[in-house]
Amino acid sequence: MANVLFLEPNILLAQAYAQALTLAGHTVRVVQGAQEAIHAADTALPDIVLLELQLPAHNGIEFLHEFRSYPEWQHIPVVVNTALYPVRIQAARQVLEEELGVVDVLYKPTATLADICEAVRTYGAGVAGGLYPGSAS
């Protein structure tokens, strides 16, 4: 079972995700902003991070650059769960996957709670994600 850090600015969606993941046996912390997420990860090391790219004041790309600049967090798998239309993040996809260690990208409007639980089960099992390409060995 995984320790999940969920960065989701919409509190109603955050509630639904948190409850579904808790029912599936995971420990979940939900935060609304990028700085909050940094602080939460600092307080308790997550096994996996789920992240919306559209955030208040900052965006997910910024968060990931900051997150990945700390060696102790470079191995943590990140799944993007975003409302941004797939066509719009096409250009970002390569950077997300190859430079920022994103293991999967979900389209939030159609990603069910079952899909979210499946993603955590697949990528969040300990260090299932492994080191991402840009991390220190």
């Binding site: 969606l13 639904a16 409850q19 409302a83 066509v87 409007p109 709670l113």
Partner: protein
């Protein structure tokens, strides 16, 4: 009928884009909260499934509209690729099943035969067929659909004009003139289709718009005894060089 004020077109189009983007948020919340309810409140699971399915269908319409707009606005040439029309129709049928069941409409696929891939925008094609399917499901369940068991069939066949993929229903009201008239009334009449309960027909018009960006379009057609809308595609020449 009042005509829209001159110069209103682009502003309203931009505004509608913003509205559509915003609608995704409450629709997602409704769908996910309903899904959570299905998981935690078994006694309400049936009702909640209806809520979730309707929210998903609405989301699909909004998404398809946004995709259509993106494709139309795109300055670069559309990225066409070889797409298996049969697989796309089967996937679409699966995606429609739960929604159709709520209206007691059966979903069938008829993709027998070998068809080479067609050149299309993969995501656009899927969105168009889904929009069309969602749009036509309700029409099959109305009293005008006759005595036959309400059914929607997703089918493909070959003609001299190319590979034809369409969605056809047991409701036999969708003749060519009905479709042409509806196209003229799009956005100006609350019910542009006569004899067909598809509301404003938004799903059908969105599908048509997406297909037009791929140099195709919807035309009224028949499949055995069923009537519906279909589009013609050219097969991919690429594989000939393999």
């Amino acid at each position: 009928m009042q005509q829209p004020a001159a110069g209103l077109g682009t502003e309203w189009s931009d505004l509608l884009f913003a509205v559509a983007e915003q609608l995704k948020v409450p629709l997602t919340v409704i769908a996910r909260q309903a899904e959570l309810g299905e998981m935690t409140r078994q006694e309400d699971a049936g009702h909640l499934q209806i809520v979730r399915t309707q929210a998903d269908a609405a989301m699909q319409l909004v998404d398809s509209y946004l995709l259509g707009l993106e494709l139309l606005r795109s300055q670069t040439a559309l990225e066409l690729e070889p797409v298996s029309i049969s697989s796309t129709l089967v996937d679409t049928a699966h995606a429609l099943t739960r929604f159709a069941k709520q209206y007691n409409v059966d979903i069938a696929v008829d993709v027998g035969g070998r068809y080479e891939p067609v050149m299309a925008h993969a995501r656009g094609l899927r969105a168009a067929l889904l929009s069309l399917g969602f749009g036509l499901v309700e029409a099959q369940a109305t009293p005008t659909s006759g005595r036959r068991t309400p059914r929607l069939t997703l089918a493909v066949h070959r003609t001299p004009h190319g590979i034809i993929a369409g969605v056809y229903g047991t409701n036999d009201s969708l003749h060519a003139d009905v479709w042409q008239r509806a196209l003229r009334l799009c956005g100006r009449a609350a019910q542009p289709f006569t004899g067909l309960s598809v509301g404003s027909g938004a799903g059908l018009f969105v599908a048509d718009t997406i297909l037009k960006s791929m140099e195709s379009s919807l035309k009224a057609g028949t499949w055995h005894r069923d009537r519906g809308l279909a589009a013609a595609f050219q097969s991919s020449q690429q594989l000939r060089f393999v």
